[in-house]
Amino acid sequence: MLTLILVIFLGGAILTWLGRKINPLLGDLLFLVSVILPATMFVMNIKVGDTIAQHTLLGIDLVWGLSPLAHLFSLVVVGLGVMLSIYSISYMRGKEKVGMYYFSFILSIMAMLGILVSRDWISFFIFWEIMTWSSYLMVILNGKKVQSIGIKYFVFSALGAYSMLMALVIINSQLGSFMLSDTFNNFQHLSPANQILIPVLLLVAFGVKSAVMPLHIWAPDAYSNSPMGYTAVFSGALSKMGVYGLVLVIISMTTQLPAGSLIRIIVAWLGGFTAAAATLWAITQDDGKKLLAWSSIGQLGYIVTGVAIGTPLAMLAAMFLVVVHALFKGSLFMAVGAIEKQTGTTDFKEVNGLIRKMPVTFISSLLSIIALAGIPPLAGFVSKWMLYEALIQNHNYLLVVLLFFASTAAFLYAYKFLHGYFLGQEEPEWAHVKEAPMSMTIPMLLLALTTFVLGTWPQLLFNSIDSAMQYLGYDATNGKLWTDSVLFSQWGDKVALQPVLYAIIAVFLFFAIFLYFKGRKATRYVTTKDISTSGEIPKEWENLTFKVNFMQPFERAIEPFLKRQIEKYYLGFGKGMEALFDFTRRIYTGNGQTYAIYAIVFLALLLIFRVSLFG
């Protein structure tokens, strides 16, 4: 069944691509079918189990099964995949290279599910690479800066993939098996050097995908350069594959190591720095896509920190954030996509005042932003609270401060995002803009509302996370940390989510009614041109919205930080390598005499060193 599902995906991808060539409508239809049909089959039929399908290639057993942990992640992938596929139909209408988009979309969904069902490293790696190049196709789909952004993405992916490849061949040579379970169970049988080397290699591999700090530089450009319908998958699901790997490595490997706690602390701090630095970078962005891209990196930093700390609560928080981040970031990227679709730009400096034009988009963005900022009635708070609790329990106080700083600074870009698109002056230039079609707004609203529901009734998700964590070897956390929407910390503290929600709703309604219904009769809507600007009447073409250098005061404050880009060091390294390569290339002078001399010298050298070579 599992094989069938993957084959349907693969065949569907090719058929969609061909179908799109024949008739756009047929392509759309095939696309929907080949995402939703196998996704439904996956959800309905594939139950948690160790070995569901098995193949042998090259004498290597490829075993496919579904662990509870993978099941949790597969929910994210399938949910986002289905939502985004519905969204993509409208989003991609009238754009170029739709067939390629559909193809890569389906393939990456397949690859992600493949990663999750892989119970051995080889199929893990195969699907990992399929995921990489199908997403690579997406990154360069727009054809902008292909050579720099695309190559950057691919090189970093290859760095990660080859680290993994190296690790897994070493594992195989040492343990004689490619199975994940054998690796984790027999980890102690590895030599001490390999016990350090392999987790580090795998951390690099997964760190690249989950954009941990020094390995993140591909991410902002890759995220923002791929089509928005896919970026949601990219940030929401694809990067979570890195997290999935990190969970496996950290929980199953480093816990068996004496030096493991050091590695985990390092990774946790890297995650913390990622969160903080990416947040600061997000603040400086003037493009919604880039802002969200950096924001995704920051949120992944939280997740990585939670995973690396690895206490039950931290793990719970990280897993919860994995799901919630997929929801709200998916919704936000969809919103940006809708704006891009309707206005043709995503630059804050160009578009503004869409709140009355695109109310549904605004509402879902607002809910998602509140979740992103971690404000109580929505789900982001639950994960952040649990993460802080976990860190405090684990005595990582400075890390708490760092993450707290990151999450406070996140307000800046959250506001920048909302202000940039929806608030400010309503321009006559954008007067024609309409709300995005239903197939775009409904998925994003659904995702945003889900964050709302999960924020108040997180136990809906906790059970699933709980079984995933039991699979990883944690005790059942059920009942210890929450009961009926009350979160307990181990210091006897609690946050009761439902009373909070009711209080907020009650007070909010009271004042909203007070202001709105009392005010509405006497109050008249005036356009945003009618503002108190020293009595001046703004001309039609004058745009008074504050949008250039929006965060300049803050940028000035963090200027020393902004000067030091990691990317610069990489670029310097790349330039140096290119120079070295160029120097090396000149060995081939194109001159026959030189080549003859090479041959003679080579012969002479061999003859001179023959004793050391052959004894």
Partner: protein
Amino acid sequence: MVGTPVLFIAIPLLAAFLIPLLGMIWKESVRIVPGLVLMYLMVLAVSLMGHVAHNGPIIEIIAGWAPPIGINLVFNAFTGFLVTLIIFMGLLVWLYSYRFKSNVEYEPARKYFILLMMLVTGSTGVVLTGDIFNLFVFIEITSISAYALTAFYTGRDSAEASFKYVMMGSLASTMLLIAIMLIYSQLGTLNMADVASKIHLMDPTLKAISFILFVVALGVEAEIFPLNGWAPDAYAEAPGPVGAAFAGIVVKAMLYALIRFTYTIFDLSGAFNLLIIIGLLTLVIAEVAAIRQDKLKRMLAYSSIGQMGLVMVAFGIGTREGVFAALFIMLNHAIIKPLLFFSGSYLVYHSKKKYISDIDGMGKLAPFTSLLFALGAFAIVGLPPFAGFWSKLSFLVAAADNDMVLIIALILAVSIVEIVYYMRVVNRIFFFKRTTGLLARRPTFNAYIVMSVLGIIVLMIGFFPDTVTGYIQAAADSLFDKTQYIHSVLTASIQ
């Protein structure tokens, strides 16, 4: 059985001589006869492979002299595998160049196919022969036809490239001859199996010197660093299918000779380390040079050299898995590189200087060719689920089993370089705007077939690698089993 191994040498040689004669009668025959010959040889090779798989190696004795004295041909799983590969490549090259750019006219076509037949003769001879001097002869046949093919476009650059090749080649021949002389003077025999069984009697210094001379001599043709200066020029200046033939036929044959010397004939312990060292050098420097190339064919040429380095490293591992990986890489390389050469030469067909930048935006104009090129590029850098991945994986597994962690790291780092330059080209094809006004050239029908076949094989190996691994495994076993080789040759009798 459809025939005996000697036909692999005899028939193409005969064809080479017959082609001009037949051409006088019917001009089209110069194109058709080689095809027929190669098809027959393909059938022969496959049937012989089947025979070998069941009945063990075939030792054919030429002219009725028993092995230590006479010349014998050895067709076992290993040589059979290579011969099949060579014939298959020859067939594809023939089909592809049936009416290639400069073959349209009668006169160049006649020359071309004569030379191609000679090339096949020499290469199969190199692989099959069991005699060292005979090997030298076949190497000369191969080289000389290769020199001529390099200079096939009678231009200034082609002539220069060919001259470089000739120069290096004659240097190599001299050394080869000296090495052969050394062996003969010491052991009094030139039969490989015989030499192998007596090699321990040889003076260690002379043994090392003669091995070194063999390495240097064969290294020129097998494109090892630093003896491969001729190769980029030759690849770039020769016609596209000839480049493919070099990568798929000549280099394979020469590498075979090198491996045969290393594995079977000589018993030097350091030889494997030498292979690894020169293999790594070749790999690193070739890939590094490839990234800085601005002409497509030169880039492919350097990539080809790099792959050969990788094969050499794999052979140098010295285990059965290593040999398996090496043969697998060879097989993949023999399939993917021609695919790249074929599709690549159509992508830059109309371009004068064959710059990489001339293929910007080709994806729109020539979607099928571009797609195949991309497939080849994805496959050769080892992206799953394409063919290259499995060979790379088996290589890495073999290397890891021997604790070559640093070598693995180095090779993977070089692979990143490889990815960069291949992806740059693929990006240019599909995602750049067309800058030059050059139009795309539609591939001819036979070129379509060749490229499709290759593409399908790439995908097939990618998804079902087990279809080919059986043969490779048998070949590896056969190479590894030195005593069995010696025994089977020396005990062979005239049937």
